[in-house]
Structure formats: C-alpha cells, structure tokens
C-alpha cells in the first residue's frame, strides 16, 4: 500500500453498499468544549478551543496530537455523544450539536465510530455474528435472516474469511487485529457515510497495523465513505489520509495536505511529534523501508 494509492480519492463508483444520497460534508465551526472539574473550587479545563475544519465528501482527514490534545473530545462532539460549549457542528443539513434522542439515532446510522480498544469495545458474551447483526436490525430494519446474510458479506469485506467460521466466535477467541476487523464490520453495518476511527491501530502489534490501515483505506476508496482518522501515529496518518490537522492543547496548530505537513512541518509541535516516531531507518538511511506492498488479503 502506498500513500500515492490512497490519495486517489476520486468520484466514488456506484455499488450496492454506497449510501443512496451523496455523502454530505461535515463542518466543524468555531467549536469549543469546556469541562468543569469537580471538587474544591470551580476550575475549568478547555479541552477544545475554537476549532474549525471541514471534511469534504469521501475525504480522509487525519487528526493528530498527543494525549490530552483534545482529539477524542472532538470525536465525541462530532458523533453527538457530547455537545460543544460553543460553536456548531453540521453534517450536511443536520445540526449535530443540537440533536436529541431521535435525531441522534438517525445520525448514528450515518456516522459510525471505530474505537481504540478492541478488547473493551466488544461484549465478551456475544458472538461476532450477534455483534454485527444488531446494527443491521436496528438501523436498517432487517429481519434476522437478512441480517445474517449481511453479516457474512461484511465479514468477508473486512477480511474475516471464511465468514461462517468467524461468525460463531466469541471475542476472546480472536486476536487483537481480528477484533478490530469485527469492530470495523460493525461500524460498516449501517451503511455509514462517515467513519470516525479513534486510534484504531494503536493497541495492535506493529505487524498487524498495516493490514487494518489498508482495510480502512480500501473501504474509503471503494465505498466513498468519509474518514476522520484520529491518532498520534504519523506513519498511519501518512498512509491513509490526504489532509492533516495537528491539534495541541485543544487548538489546531497546523493544517494542510498530509504529505506537505509531514515533509515541511511549520509548527514546532509537529516537528516534536515527527521526531518521536520510532523509526529504525531514520538515523541510518533517512529513506523509506522498501518492502513488499501489503495486499488486500493481508489478514491479521
């Protein structure tokens, strides 16, 4: 997989799994989020400060920063799990920041999340099939038989083949990479238009990351899904995003095309993040690792 390859966003081709209407843009306008710290006194913490950006239809945007930079808070605001203190978030004509129960439910059909911890995000008592079936039944109103059929397709899509063998498994019978693929299948179940992936590979072995990143890049390419990729891993961001937002202490400190930001970082914080990436080749060769490209079937 090369970054060049993933940059070909292009107009989406028509497939059965594509959302019926064109994917709308996500607009984040002057959003701030202030938390009140409980306990003595009334201290406040500004997790996100006056952040604005847009995810154009089918784009892959990377949101990078260290712990506490406000990345995950932004994810919660964009998915409607929390409301901003100031500013507005719209997905097409839907005012995300003002939605209530019914509207949120509708939004969650269209905006799905993939979480960091593949161990904590799956119910240990439910089989893979049940986990992936539920959104098909709840969001798409499918019958159990239809949903089962769709689960098989989805597992095939995320590289868990043969699907029949994985459908009956419980989370503890799967490796970390396989669990993350189940989470991606679950996120795909409702035909979302935007996927917010919050550190989807940071808890996986280095050897499994390429495969999961490749899967996300392929889904975006083939289905025209927009992607917000939240991470502190600049290598992953380089591989699957076209645009990069660097977040430090709740503020965007740098914004631009991914390759340009990484090759010509303007802000010291971006340089610091780049220097912290473990890279056995940086010191000796200063060039990329030339190894065989990962294939689509690069299973975990």
């Amino acid at each position: 997989m090369s970054a060049e390859l993933s940059r070909t966003g292009g107009p989406p081709e028509a497939t059965a799994d594509r959302p019926a209407s064109p994917v709308p843009p996500l607009s984040v306008g002057n959003v701030s989020k202030v938390y009140r710290v409980r306990g003595r006194g009334s201290r406040t913490v500004t997790a996100v400060h006056d952040v604005s950006f847009t995810i154009t239809p089918g784009a892959a945007v990377g949101l990078v920063g260290a712990s506490g930079s406000g990345k995950s808070t932004l994810a919660r605001l964009i998915t409607g799990s929390e409301r901003p203190t100031a500013g507005s978030i719209t997905f097409g004509d839907v005012p995300v920041s003002r939605l209530r129960a019914g509207g949120l439910r509708n939004l969650h059909r269209r905006v799905q999340m993939v979480f960091q911890d593949p161990y904590g995000a799956l119910n240990p008592l439910h089989t893979v099939e049940y986990t992936v079936m539920r959104p098909c039944q709840n969001f798409l109103r499918m019958s159990a038989a239809q949903a089962r059929h769709r689960v098989a397709e989805l597992l095939d899509t995320v590289g868990l083949t043969p699907a029949s063998q994985f459908a009956v498994k419980l989370p503890h019978q799967l490796s970390g990479g396989q669990r993350q693929r189940v989470l991606i299948a679950r996120a795909l179940a409702s035909n979302p238009e935007l996927i917010v992936a919050d550190e989807p590979v940071s808890m996986l072995d280095v050897s499994l990351r390429a495969g999961v990143l490749e899967l996300l890049a392929r889904l975006r390419r083939e289905r025209g899904i927009s992607l917000l990729y939240i991470t502190h891993d600049l290598l992953g961001a380089r591989l699957i995003t076209d645009e990069l937002l660097v977040l430090n202490r709740g503020r965007i400190v740098e914004h631009g095309p991914t390759r340009q930001v990484l090759q010509h970082p303007q802000h010291p914080y971006t340089v610091q993040l780049l220097d912290a990436v473990p890279n056995p080749f940086a010191t000796a060769a200063g060039v990329s690792a030339a190894a065989a490209p990962a294939t689509d079937r690069n299973r975990s």
């Binding site: 970054a3 390429a210 990143l213 490749e214 780049l274 473990p278």
Partner: protein
C-alpha cells in the same frame, strides 16, 4: 561470567481444562553486566513470559517446566519463598506494562515506597516516615518527578507519570537487572520517547543490566544495544542492534526472515513514497506440537526442510539466527567481518 544465564528454559501454561501451552521453548540466553537488551516479538511470542521467568515472577497457570537460571552464580530457578525474596534486594526487578495496574490505587505513592523499602529493609536502615520520604524523593528525582508526587494517589497522575513511579519503585532496591515489560505501550509517542530516554539515562548512569520487552522493533532499535527476536516461544535471532540495521541496509541475508518482516512494518512518514508491509497470517497455536520451523507457514523463503525440522539457533554472521535457508545461503565468510 554473565550476570544472568538462562539455559534450556521451558515455560508452560497449564489451563484447568485443555492442552498445555508452551509459551517459552528451549531458550538459551546470557546477559552481561551493564547490557541493554531488547526482546521483540508479536503478541503471544512468549516475550513477556520469558521476562517474568527471568525475574521469577511467573504465577500459575504459568510454570517453569525445566531449565536453569543463574543470577550472579546463584541458581535462582530453584529458589523458593524467603530465599528467593532475599535475592530481589540488589537483584532483579520487573517493571510492568501498565503503571495503573502495577500501583495500589488506595495508597499514596509515599506509602508504596514505604511498603517496598520496609519489606526489604536490612538491619540499621532508616524506614521511618522521614527516611521513606527522603528515599522516595531521591528515587522520584531519578525518574524526573518532583517530591509533590509522593502525596498523590495513582489516579491523580498521568499515564507517563505512573510509569515513571513504577520505574522509581523498581529502582528502590538497587537491582542489578531490571526487566521492562512494554513500559510505554499504553502511552502516546511523545510521552513514550520521554520515558524511554529516562530509562536509557538511568541505565547508563547506574549501570544495571536492562531488558526491554516490546512488540515495537522501532522502539527497541532506538534504545537497546542488542536485539533478541522471539517467535512462537523460541529465540529466532540474537544480534547487536547496530549489526541488525547494517544487515538491513547491506541486504546480506544475515538475519531471520521474521526479523526482515518486522523491519518491513516501519517507514519514514516524511519519505516521498511510503510503503508499509504487515506480516500475513497468524502466529501458530502453541498448544499443538510444532513440527519444523514455527514461522514456516508465514515465511516467503520456506522450503521442505523448514516444515520438517526445527532449525537450531546457530551463529550466523554477527549474531545467532535460527533459519535453515539463511544458514545455507548467507555468505558468512565474506560478509561477517564487514558487518561486525
């Protein structure tokens, strides 16, 4: 003589039902005084089990089935109870992966220092409140934390600070060997870099032998002087870090195909073209008997002999490699001198 020598180490996990899992298989490893060694492998490669075995921290269902571990001339594999506990002072310590889980959530950091210092106190040592606070302040300073941390509870500290506290606790008994088990896996890259730098500085200043266990070969190559690669419970490669990167660049085929695949998982995000390869397939099920080389099913070089005979860990070029194909094809005589 090496500070720590492990010979023919075998560790099994015996679940209450089902087959025994062989997590560490026939490992030979010698660690010299003052060495910084990285142990690398994927999840389930046995690296953590090996680290716990070397520090005698295995707990059921894990069991040291056979093998000798000599620490400074004493066979610690057979020690039990009080005699083992005494060895821990000025002996060997383990820093666990998650600082949160390694610390007691209901005691302040000062009291946790007190617990360690009192449990291992020798006659005449000052373990009064003041003495503990003084030692704690010094130990925290060594890991770049201020004395105010002593009054805090673990939940009041960030992930990086908690990991620094666990390192300070490990230093409390002045060990000669410290095993760091994935000390930065739960941390972000910037904090990871800072914690690794602290570990490097401590090791250099205090001269203890350090073992860094990590799934991240990049972190290990940045930090350690020597790299031990594990796969399916066995050591498949053992080499100086500098020789490993040299092998990669000169492409002499002096390293294990698995190490080569691990190196393929890295790239410079600043390069014009960035390619990244994962490792296809999954590690083997260790509850089943392993015929031949465990990596053969995922190996691009595998031949018939690889599927039949498990290759021994033999000298190859500047280190040890367990691979039939590499042992045969590498031009060792010509290349070894240039690499090492």
């Amino acid at each position: 003589m090496a500070l720590l020598g492990a010979e023919h180490l075998n560790v099994g996990y015996q679940p209450s039902r089902g087959q025994r899992i062989w997590a560490v298989r026939d490992v030979d490893l010698a660690l010299e005084q003052g060495e910084f060694v990285g142990i690398v492998g994927e999840s389930g490669s046995g690296k953590t089990t090996l680290g716990h075995a070397l520090t005698r921290m295995l707990r059921p269902p894990a069991h040291l089935e056979s093998g000798v571990i000599s620490f400074d001339g004493t066979d610690i594999a057979s020690l039990r109870g009080e005699r083992l506990r005494r060895q821990r002072r000025n002996g060997f310590a383990l820093v666990l992966q998650s600082g949160m889980n390694a610390l007691n959530p209901v005691r302040t950091i000062a009291r946790q220092f007190g617990d360690v210092l009192k449990a291992h106190a020798q006659p005449g040592e000052d373990t009064s409140v003041d003495g503990v606070l003084r030692s704690g302040t010094e130990l925290l300073a060594a890991v770049r934390l201020g004395p105010e941390v002593l009054r805090r509870f673990p939940h009041e500290l960030s992930g990086g600070m908690r990991q620094r506290v666990s390192i300070a606790l490990a230093l409390a008994l002045q060990p000669r060997l410290i095993v760091f088990d994935e000390p930065t896996t739960a941390l972000d890259v910037i904090v990871q870099q800072a914690v690794m730098q602290t570990i490097k500085d401590l090791q250099r200043d205090r001269g203890f032998t350090a073992v860094l266990i990590s799934h991240d070969l990049g972190v290990v190559l940045d930090t350690a002087d020597r790299v031990v690669v594990m796969y399916a419970g066995r050591i498949v490669e053992d080499k100086a870090a500098a020789a490993l990167t040299a092998c990669q660049h000169e492409r002499q085929g002096l390293y294990h195909p698995y190490t080569e695949a691990l190196l393929g998982c890295y790239a410079d995000p600043r390069a014009d073209v960035v390619r990244l390869a994962g490792i296809p397939g999954t590690p083997p099920d260790l509850s089943l008997p392993q015929a031949g080389c465990s990596f053969a099913p995922r190996c691009p070089l595998a031949e018939q002999i690889c599927r039949d005979v498990d290759p021994p860990l033999s000298p190859l070029g500047p280190g040890r490699v367990a691979c039939h194909v590499r042992a045969r094809t590498a031009n060792v005589d010509v290349e070894a001198g240039r690499v090492s």
